[in-house]
Subunit: 278 residues, 4 copies
């Protein structure tokens, strides 16, 4: 049985000692252990994977850890399990398809509970893989009415993360706040360059020699949430914006997959609108 322990805490002397002492006392096997101290802000982060020969009484262990750590330390202690995700898409198939193929090949450590879209374009693709597809069209609905319907669908499932696999509508504060640090987006630029609509057109206009993609948690400032992963691709003057868009798709899908993998493995701490990845 594998467990994952995440601690973020004000920094103090002896924190690793306190944590490992407790795990040792419980006779647990530490598999991997990573720590990071942000000195500037006196913050301590630790991620530990451990296993035990017998079932661990999680609440007891957590209480014991709490006693020995600073008062406002956050402790997250869970049995490792396959996470549940909901995908949101619009019309483009590359990010969605990449996730579906990973799922088919047992490379995605998650259960795809549903795909939600504002169009029915991708329904035939999703249904090939026997995954429920919910089309919530926007016609005749205000933004908040549409989001209410989407939330009705989403909330009918248990899930850990919502993955915006090229969902091309801006989400309202109400929606975003309902799923804090649970919504993972892929933006088709190396943020903070080219925030907003049509980043490839912006990139072409600016004459950059590199394009990129950024996966981030969504917050209420457009394209300004905590960045999880980024990658780039070199281009040259011969790329018009459609060429950039085509070339960028490979970057987008890989960056989104990499970010999702980190989230599914409980490796991401969010702090000061940044991520610490252990």
């Amino acid at each position: 049985m594998k467990y994952i322990l995440l601690i973020d805490s004000p920094d103090a002397k002896g924190l690793v000692y306190e944590v490992t002492k407790t795990l040792y006392k419980y006779n647990l096997n530490v598999e991997t252990n990573r720590e990071f101290v942000d000195k500037e802000n006196s913050k301590f982060f630790m991620r530990t994977e451990f296993s035990g020969e017998v079932e661990v009484e999680i609440d007891n262990l957590k209480d014991e850890l709490k006693k020995n750590l600073p008062q406002n330390a956050h402790i997250k202690l869970t049995k490792h399990r396959k996470k549940d995700i909901i995908l949101m898409v619009t019309k483009e198939s590359h990010c969605l398809g990449d996730i579906l193929i990973r799922d088919f090949g047992n490379e995605l450590d998650a259960n795809i509970k549903a795909v939600v879209s504002n169009y029915d374009v991708l329904k035939p693709l999703v249904e090939k893989f026997n995954i429920p597809y919910f089309c919530v069209p926007t016609e005749g609905l205000s933004r908040s009415e549409h989001e209410d319907r989407v939330m009705d669908v989403i909330n009918s499932f248990e899930f850990d993360f919502i993955v915006l696999a090229k969902y091309m509508r801006i989400l309202s504060p109400n929606f975003v706040e309902s799923y804090e640090q649970k919504i993972i987006n892929i933006h088709h630029s190396f943020l903070p360059a080219f925030i907003g609509a049509n980043p490839y057109k912006q990139a072409h206009q600016r004459g950059v020699k590199i394009i990129g993609a950024t996966s981030h948690f969504v917050n209420n400032n457009l394209d300004e949430g905590p960045i999880i992963a980024q990658d780039i691709k070199r281009i040259d003057h011969s790329f018009n914006w459609r060429d950039m868009q085509k070339a960028g798709r490979n970057v987008e899908k890989i960056v989104l997959s990499n970010a999702l993998k980190l989230a599914l493995e409980d490796r991401i701490f969010v702090y000061a609108n940044k991520t610490v990845i252990l």
Copy 2:
């Protein structure tokens, strides 16, 4: 109507002039034009995309070009058309899946005529996309008997390229010679490092800090055919060979797709066991 003209020839003075003169005389619009001269070997390569307002009489134009070029110049002149491909796979889904998703999203400028495999593992995936799947098991067959059956399947189709999308059997000289410069393979290392079986195990053993993938035309020297495309991914000591394998899949599928795109666009010249890509 778009045409593609490929010329490789001994180098000589005025070759671009001779070609463009002829195209000008035929009142054709040159869309793009790329040349390369290998000085060391006195070889000239040229790729021109052009269009005409009326249908071009290809044979006439070719004859005219021939008259003005060195005697042993090779001229390939074709109307642009969507190419036909056959995929060969074994059990891994990532390269195959990537191509199927591109096809679904109209990002693959090719018709997938069939998928041929030595196993039936990937049949369910391929059939979702309504593409014929031929399983040719190896049991009880000699290598040449098996290849004969595979060739029977393949030869029942018209096609331009065979794509080995992780086909994990070595092909015999007889097979390879039947499809010269038509078989595109993906090898899971940055060749010439780690030729042969289990390159990720070899890479782990060697302790490299970078893994990669190489797409190449297949010839009769294992993993020594002309290289079309390569890419890499940085790793560190924490990757065991299975982690490398997982991380490498993203590189493999992108490199294969990039190489296939170059082939489908008629951009690759093969020369001295190398490629010139225009």
Copy 3:
């Protein structure tokens, strides 16, 4: 004798034909030939290196080319020669040092005529290499007074390019306009992200996973000139802004050197605030 021909022109049918015809008529050997057509804007760019057995009468050849090209085509035709450059620096040695070492190793195809700085910090380094160093301090001077003195120094030399190798003062419109498309800057971010002061602090604040550097021609909008070259380096949460700054120096110096190389080889066309590099 090697010559370089640069043409930018409105696009028209047969331009490559017209140019190569003329070169053929003059019995010249085309060494390399690259063209690019920006279809959207109907612009044609061509760079040709050629050599002749006898000295070419440049003015005659240029006139002949002019006759056969669209009226408002720009033709630049020069004998290949080693360019002259002036370096401007402030206090950081990495970009300057990289250029000096290239010069020492005969890897820099340019003559460094002088180094101009607002500080004397780098004087000892420059003088090791027997290159004139001019310190123009800013104390007690208005911006325009200071720039006038700098221009007095600069204008006492013949030069092709001014290289801002980490010159940390903003140049006034008057200065910039005096040296149009002659000033090459290195900015320590992947523009257009993090324009202005302290890009590494901005990058740290934003929590990016990639930092970069951009070399561009200077125009009158800060950090918005035509981009010549860019590159990036992956970072993670463990980098504070000083770590980013240190890591970024390697990117900065390589990007600046790459951009300078392109300029020295006459490969850069500037158009619509972008570069076409042939």
Copy 4:
């Protein structure tokens, strides 16, 4: 006062606990802490930077650590100090120059005690920076005679590492064994591709689309020592081997600098002909 603790040991339960307990008992501040467990080989690696308010009695602390760790654990505990290095070069200036410029700019956390070469080509460069240069020509000497003279020079200094900054002679087993895990080399290929002489010629011959460089500790198998750092550069068919060589120099110097930085910061463990970098 900063200290660095390096432990490699057979893996066992509670190792991090034992180490941090001891540091806690001594009232030391752990600054950073990184561990790695190689499960396959049951090996544990740990690197800890810590500081104390008063001078630490290193021998006492080491003894205490020893008591609590497995019997055959290796413990290296040192006060942090600037390391001493000796550079060996032949004729190329790019790697040497890069190190000299870093030294000038206070970016190199090391003292360059001497530069040793088999030629005097680089003497003028080194002497600009007031560093002793020893030319040990090979003429009229057997390999072992030459190496004896080189060793005489080297051994007249205290040093931590010998950096082969493009030293183009193969070192004998006798030489290599005298400085185990102290000799850092830069090889101009992404090893294990293109071992031996003229890797760029080999790379050109093979038609690769990527070149690279590898920094490694030297052992008695040519180019087969434990790899510390690698990087690559994309190329295409237009690069002849001299172009590759020129382009590769940027990769070589950066990779060597990165590897040297890791060595100077005591971050490298060597194990099973591989490196673990913490």
